[in-house]
């Protein structure tokens, strides 16, 4: 029976090629626009570490007080740490794994004097950073807590920098010269560039394109050698002393912090700890406002940092609007098309076809339009994803991917949406009174 309906649908669609083409075009464009913007939205709103994001937390401490928020017109408390509090939290070590981190951009001096020094990007972190974010190692591993304490001159390289400096070999144990000081390689991270860069969204805004981090070195060591912070620095008041030391003594915020807490009990006790810490600071006379802190899990944190750009959301909404208009348009055209065939329906019904048969016939026809629109949509989505770098910022557009799930979804959305749009016209068609049609003919 289905084959018969397919044949009927094909004949009907062929009878008015203009109208059919119009519906297919509308569905194709509508679906392609939605799917293209969806691919971008999906890429930027994805969970960078889905198996663990609910166990990773970012604390925030209100060290500037309500006046600072009034001054700047903000509502949220500062989203980064000053040096004093970051170190205090590290010392107390109340989470399962935790790390304070700051962005650095040192220069690496190649052993070969003829080569130019190169500028690299990276983070100064604590040893627990690597197990916490589950960074994949190609060679070696992260450094130990002992290295943190001893301020050892060790580092972890990216696969890319390792290639550049040593070629594709296991460089563990070799030495790298950073700004005149030697560091021993303890590990090489295998291609790892999570998007968004969730462990430090304050400095990156989340998306940094293909620029994976080149080096990680121990936080205490970086502080020790005076490797300055290369990320954002926000100050409520001008630091009293100059230089990087002055920044460490100031209340300026420039350090990111992340902690892993494995159970609800752990989360509660960590909250208690933060509350206690802030109370203690207040009692010590550091500030005179009510202690305030925040502890967000990773998804909530990414949301509050607006990692998904507003432009991306607005584009998606507008494209969905376009799809809806296309569907309304298709519903109108299908209605016209189906009712034009009232005579034919009347004959079928009079010959004994039940309403269900009319439904099946016309929904098949709608589905066929949807499938054709979906195929066109596939092509247009392909073009759209390829060209999206042309209209959206490169670092975000580069994340949009054409994969099987997107293609399958394009087809499914096209067919389902068109069948939905065809429901009302089909219902109207099934209500056609056979007697009426036969009489008037």
């Amino acid at each position: 029976m289905f084959a018969y309906y397919l044949d009927l649908a094909l004949r009907s669609l062929k009878r008015s090629p203009g109208l059919t083409l119009l519906m297919v075009l509308a569905i194709g464009f509508g679906v392609a626009a939605s799917m293209t913007t969806w691919s971008v939205f999906r890429a930027v709103s994805g969970d960078p570490i889905p198996w663990k994001s609910s166990r990773l937390f970012v604390p925030q401490l209100d060290i500037w007080g309500p006046d600072s928020r009034k001054k700047g017109g903000y509502t949220d408390i500062s989203d980064a740490f000053d040096y004093t509090d970051a170190l205090a939290l590290m010392r107390d070590h109340r989470g399962k794994l935790q790390s304070a981190m700051y962005q650095v951009s040192p220069s690496v001096v190649p052993a070969d004097a003829a080569k130019h020094p190169i500028n690299v990007s990276g983070h100064a972190v604590f040893s627990e950073f690597f197990p916490m974010v589950e960074a994949p190692f190609k060679y070696g591993s992260g450094w130990s807590a002992q290295d943190d304490q001893n301020r050892s001159h060790v580092l972890v390289l990216s696969d890319k920098l390792n290639q550049k400096l040593f070629g594709d070999v296991n460089s563990v144990g070799k030495s790298v010269n950073i700004e005149g000081k030697d560091y021993r390689v303890v590990g090489v991270v295998d291609r790892w560039n999570p998007q968004p860069r969730y462990y430090d969204v304050v400095n990156t805004g989340g998306f940094v394109g293909d620029g994976a981090e080149d080096v990680f070195l121990p936080f205490n060591t970086a502080i020790d050698v005076g490797m300055p912070n290369n990320g954002n620095t926000n100050c409520n008041e001008i630091p009293k002393e100059a230089g990087f030391i002055g920044l460490q003594h100031s209340s300026c915020v420039w350090i990111a912090y992340m902690v892993e807490l494995d159970s609800a009990t752990d989360v509660d006790s960590y909250k208690n700890y933060l509350d206690g810490y802030m109370r203690q600071q207040q009692q010590a006379g550091r500030f005179n406002w009510a202690p305030k802190y925040k502890l967000s899990d990773l998804p909530a944190w990414l949301d509050s940092e607006h990692v998904v750009p507003d432009d991306t959301k607005v584009s998606l909404l507008v494209a969905l609007g376009l799809l809806i208009v296309c569907l309304v348009n298709t519903a109108g055209l299908l209605l016209a098309k189906f009712l034009r065939r009232s005579g034919e329906i009347g004959v079928r019904r009079a010959l004994g076809a039940p309403r269900a048969a009319v439904y099946a016939q016309f929904l098949t026809e709608a589905g066929m339009v949807g499938a054709a629109g979906g195929v066109l949509g596939l092509l247009l989505t392909g073009v759209g994803v390829a060209c999206v770098g042309w209209v959206l910022p490169k670092d975000i557009a580069a994340l949009a991917r054409l994969d099987v799930s997107l293609l399958a979804m394009t087809l499914v959305v096209a067919v389902i949406a068109t069948v939905l749009a065809g429901l009302y016209p089909t219902w109207r068609a099934s209500r056609v009174q056979p007697a009426w049609q036969l009489k008037s003919n």
Binding site: L19, D67, K71, W390
Partner: protein, 413 residues
């Protein structure tokens, strides 16, 4: 001409669903097109913002130091670099900058107050640093006061905070701080215990950023006479002689490497002319405008095609009635007017609903996405566009209807 509206309404009642669908489509199209037009216009306005910089001949060099030098050594190198740059045949002038430059994207900004302990700042200002060559290098227009003197330029080490006693400010900042004019010679505090006195006013001077926050303080910027001898690196802004930008951009890095090799100038994007800087900073604005433009065109095309399709169907359905009307004396023009009026009535209902939807959508984006409220002019333009589009779309089927011969009335179906 006497247009009969009643018979049209009666006829439409027989096509309730089709009529509603077209009206709904017009309403949704209007809501989306208005908001898209609004976004496009906003973004295009951004694109044409003036920076105040002589963009055709200025370029920026991002110079990072490959060694951890103490401030005096950095200062000596910076001075030598600048001297070398200024002596190049294709170069007119050069200046050391930090904290960003106009249209650089992000950078340094400070709250500004009129007294040191004022709790709520008057405004926020972009902070630029440079030496006595800053104004000439960027090609800024000094509209009052004077330039920095060489002896006013101070050295600022790594992450050091220095408040110079003199500052040159943009006219926008001067007007904001001192609305009754006469800003020259007056002082302000930019998150510092000591004041800076305004010795000169330039106009215009764009901030670093083009984001929502910066746009709230548009054009408000100050220049401090500082040579930023940061151990990490420095930006050099260089102004080429007219027409010699390419030559200057070639000569400059060679001259710098000849001074010292302990530096890194990224071969890929270490040197950028202002065309590139402008293109990069407005990337997302341009993209949004293009995307919204594409969506508008597709939407209007689909809606127009939908109207053509449905009206054609109605015309086909009513050939007999049209024939009867013609046989009873209706002129071709009357038939044409009938369909145009019918479409106008549907469109009018559609745009009425669409106006409500458009405003509601805009208000929602204002609260949800920090967009700005839309002026009613966009709705006006959208209504006009859709009415004209509807009339244009219906014209072809209506003309075909008007050519239906009165003979049709006599033919049985």
């Amino acid at each position: 001409m006497n247009i009969q509206i009643r018979p049209i309404l009666v006829a439409l009642r027989r096509h309730k669903a089709g009529t509603l669908l077209i009206a709904l489509q017009i309403a949704l199209t209007l809501a989306i097109v208005c908001n898209a037009l609004f976004i496009i216009h906003q973004r295009l306005t951004n694109l044409s913002e003036v920076s105040g910089v002589d963009e055709s001949s200025v370029f920026v060099i991002r110079n990072q130091w490959a060694a951890d030098w103490p401030t005096p050594q950095v200062d000596a190198q910076v001075k030598a670099d600048l001297l070398a740059l200024r002596q190049l045949p294709a170069v007119r002038d050069a200046t050391p900058v930090s904290g960003g430059y106009p249209l650089s994207g992000g950078g340094w900004d400070n709250f500004v107050t009129l007294t040191p302990d004022q709790p709520k700042p008057v405004t926020d200002s972009a902070v630029y640093t440079g030496d006595e060559h800053y104004i000439d290098t960027l090609g800024l227009r000094l509209i009052a006061g004077r330039n920095f003197r060489p002896d006013e330029v101070m050295v600022m080490g790594t992450q050091q905070s220095i408040t110079p006693a003199a500052a040159i400010v943009s006219k926008a900042l001067a007007d904001k701080l001192f609305p009754d004019g006469n800003a020259l010679g007056k002082s302000f505090y930019a998150m510092s215990p000591t004041p800076s006195t305004i010795i000169g006013i330039v106009d215009p001077l764009h901030r670093q950023g083009v984001d929502q926050y910066s746009n709230g303080y548009a054009g408000q910027a100050l220049i401090w006479p500082l040579r930023a001898d940061d151990s990490r690196g420095i930006f050099y802004m260089v102004r080429a002689k007219p027409g010699q930008l390419a030559a200057a951009m070639r000569e400059a890095p060679q001259a710098l490497y000849a001074q010292s090799r302990m530096r890194i100038i990224d071969p890929k994007d270490g040197i950028q002319d202002y065309a590139t800087i402008r293109r990069k900073v407005f990337d997302s604005d341009r993209g949004m405008a293009i995307l919204m433009g594409i969506i508008c065109v597709v939407l209007l095309a689909i809606t127009a095609a939908g109207i053509v399709g449905l009206t054609s169907f109605w015309v086909g359905q009513r050939r007999k009635q049209i024939g009867v009307r013609r046989a009873l004396g209706a002129r071709q023009r009357d038939i044409l007017t009938y369909f145009l009026t019918e479409n106008f009535l549907i469109s009018a209902a559609g745009v009425a609903l669409g106006t409500v939807l458009a405003i509601a959508f805009n208000l929602w984006t204002v609260t949800r996405f920090a967009m700005s409220p839309m002026s009613m002019a966009y709705v006006g333009v959208g209504v006009l566009v859709l009415i004209l589009l509807g009339q244009g779309a219906v014209l072809a089927p209506a003309l075909r209807a008007s050519r239906v011969s009165p003979v049709e009335a006599t033919r049985s179906v």
